[in-house]
Symmetry: C3
Subunit: 347 residues, 3 copies
């Protein structure tokens, strides 16, 4: 199923090794030397594949599965078909993802600096850094151990890239400190000046953008996403946050830890998000707002006010999700030519 | 009108050649050796220009036109002004577009690999391939005959590019098989990992993205558009589909043939579109949905459910277009402080 | 506060020089040789910093400020704390921005053409042009005095770049004439073909895109923004317009002077905007429309009709802002299960 031209194949791996690597318990009398070649789905997997079952909804597929082994939660294990090797674990999906990476390890980056890269002599490169053809690294930049700079990426002067971080092809980074184990996807733009002008009676005028972008560890920044540097403070992306493609993050925005920002979201300047905020696709937030931790914003919503944490919101302007659902139901009636919820009381 | 610094000029062309190249019928006693220099509009064209008339709405402009010749539908030809040469055809607009290309042929790409390009020795290049300065082609990549790789584009290892396909400046392609006669516009991002994480009680975790992107023949992918590779299956763009700028296409999405996806649309992961689906600008579709063939989605709509084929939808959440129009009319009354359609029954 | 690795420091500067450079009047008996090191806020600034006060709302902070000097409007100057040097001016904010640039001048671009850039021998470069590594400049291109082409940018054949204009890293420009003192941010795409196809009974067909992009002087184009070239006319961006990140501008669009187009806006083909039009974030305009001068479009609005100038609009479809606000208030009641404004008359 996996195309080996694009994804390495490290199998076969023995059942015993799989159990050890995932911390799963080998149930029953299965032979720990039995070999497996790949991960697979409950439906599509064969005798050489390892599947997983975490959600009780899929237990029918589990019973009928031809997969040779399965990572499975303890309370579902007794539904297994005959002959299936059982790897019992509290986190089947998570261990399946880990197993997929074991069968298909990310290819190592070519070691060293390609002769067609341009690295300023004053830049500092850690051990095992990989710099691809056409990449440009500016004066005084600091690239951490094991970092990888892909083809035609440009790292501007004095930028710091943490250990193990990957900068995708064609991406550009300036005025930024990037943490460890981050992945900046192809074409992302980090650190350019924000949309920084103000207006007075004489018209608009540009304001120097004197801040930076701080990206903490373990952050992903999607393809062609743009993160502007701060104007007087910094733009900050908190640890473990995941940002999808084509997202706009304005100057001075602060994201807490573990935020999830889905594709085509826009976050306007100086807005602050708490931890674990989820913004679904194509939603937007106005500037200078405070969004509390654990807020969830529905797709295509437009946030125009501060949002207290720990709650879900939807619509444009965004309102608590329960009110928003009622609003949509009322609209639906308007579209069908029926009375609004208010007027039906009299009808 | 056309700036010859940017667009080649191949004229003059004789009326007889024009008739032959377009398959149009030369009506009347016009001299087939008469020379024409360019295409032009009914209003702006002069005696050396060829205009077109397809839509009866513009017949007044046709009667008053000074254009020397006109591609025209048979049933409108008798309205022509004196002295205009008539090229009668069932497809005036289409033949006008073809004629514009004849007068202004796309410039040939420089032949061969520029010395400032970097092509891995194990890559395979077909006949007449053009590789511009700064382009990078990875190990094992296969580039078809007559393909063109523009400045600073990056083609990753093992990628296949079909014959006659053009990869625009600064675009990046990985984990992908691209068909023939495609045009990937500047800055498009093809094949990066999808937004691939899942959540369990311990928080989010990354899932390896082990699929590919398959782009069939005759596809256009707009500037700075992003198409993520599949996670376990492939992301597929069907033959002849046209995708505008800044579009997001998530992992495992399947587009049928001849789809038209306008700028800033977002299609979430694992959603499948049939053939000839039209999504207007800034609309979005949630994940894991089925959109039937010949569906039309209005601009800025948000699709949250499966949509049966052959119908038009609008709004967010998207509903049948007739209901949506009624909804908008009812909103308008709300904005004007008038009764809603339901309440007027009692008023 | 400012990180000197990324932003140059030109201070200290004497109070007298500051007064002279900004045209502000030195009030009181302050010593014009007193030295200042930086700009700062009213709250954060210390004795070596210059702050500003323009808006009466912040007068409390002004009274309590520890900043050594302050640019201040004449009518607020008498509220100053003891010991603060006063720079009285009609435009405190504007002069503060100018002062910030004096303390932190933009670093000069490296002079000349880097050996890892590729400049076609037929291109013409003005005095003091800077071309960074990996930049590609095509045949017949004309680059004005003092222009700066950043790393891995690509300027296609015959393109003209005005004096003092900067083309950001990884940006691409083709079929375009760009004015003076513009800044095209990283990853912007200028001049690719528009989404140019038409439909007839035989299906879609491509139409050659034979126009250009004309960018007048003093324009800013945001990161990863896309501006398509005209099809038969030109796409024009008027003088002094500011375009944010991830904006889409279709073929044949004309923007007047001083327009402000915020992030993720889409302007469809052949639409014309007057002067000083403001389109807030994530809004969109359909094609072939006329938007009058001084129109303001609210965030996330969708414009579907011509808009008369000098007014504000909101919503999708966009309506006059007063009606839109009433519409939102009525929706809110629908969401709360209350009567619509109309039906309450009977309730």
């Amino acid at each position: 199923m996996v195309d080996s031209r694009f994804h390495a194949e490290a199998g076969p791996i023995t059942l015993g090794e799989i159990a050890e690597m995932t911390g799963a318990e080998l149930r029953g009398a299965d032979d720990p030397t039995r070999l497996f070649r790949d991960v697979g789905t409950l439906e599509g997997g064969g005798p050489d594949d390892v599947a997983f079952l975490e959600n009780r909804r899929y237990v029918e597929g589990f019973r009928a599965s031809k997969a040779g082994a399965c990572l499975v939660a303890a309370d579902l294990a007794d539904q297994a078909p005959d002959g299936m090797a059982l790897l019992v674990t509290a986190r089947p999906r998570r261990n399946y993802a880990r197993l997929a990476r074991l069968f298909h390890p990310a290819p190592p980056a070519p070691a060293g600096v390609h002769p067609a890269a341009v690295v300023d002599p004053s830049a500092s490169l850690g051990d095992g850094v990989s710099v691809a053809p056409g990449a440009v690294i500016g004066a005084g930049a600091v690239i951490g151990d094991g970092a990888r700079i892909d083809a035609n990426a440009a790292i501007d002067d004095a930028v710091e890239i943490g250990a193990g971080t990957r900068i995708g092809a064609g991406a550009t980074v300036s005025h930024a400190l990037v943490g460890a184990r981050c992945y900046i996807y192809p074409g992302a733009r980090i650190g350019q000046p924000g949309f920084g002008f103000e207006m007075d009676a004489d018209g608009p005028f540009l304001v120097p953008q004197l801040g930076r972008v701080i990206i903490e560890d373990d952050v992903e920044v999607g393809a062609n996403t743009t993160i502007d540097r701060g104007s007087n403070a910094d733009t900050v992306i908190g640890r473990g946050s995941m940002i999808d493609n084509l997202v706009q993050i304005g100057h001075n925005v602060v994201l807490g830890r573990g935020c999830i920002i889905v594709s085509q979201v826009g976050i306007s300047g100086s807005t602050r998000l708490g931890d674990r905020v989820v913004m679904a696709g194509q939603s937007g937030v106005a500037g200078h707002l405070e969004i509390g931790s654990d807020v969830q914003v529905a797709a295509r919503s437009g946030v125009t006010r501060n949002l207290p944490g720990g709650a879900a919101y939807g619509g444009a302007p965004a309102i608590p999700v329960r009110e928003w659902r009622r609003q949509i139901a009322a609209w639906k009636k308007l579209g069908q030519g029926k009375s609004s919820p208010g007027s039906t009381n009299e009808g």
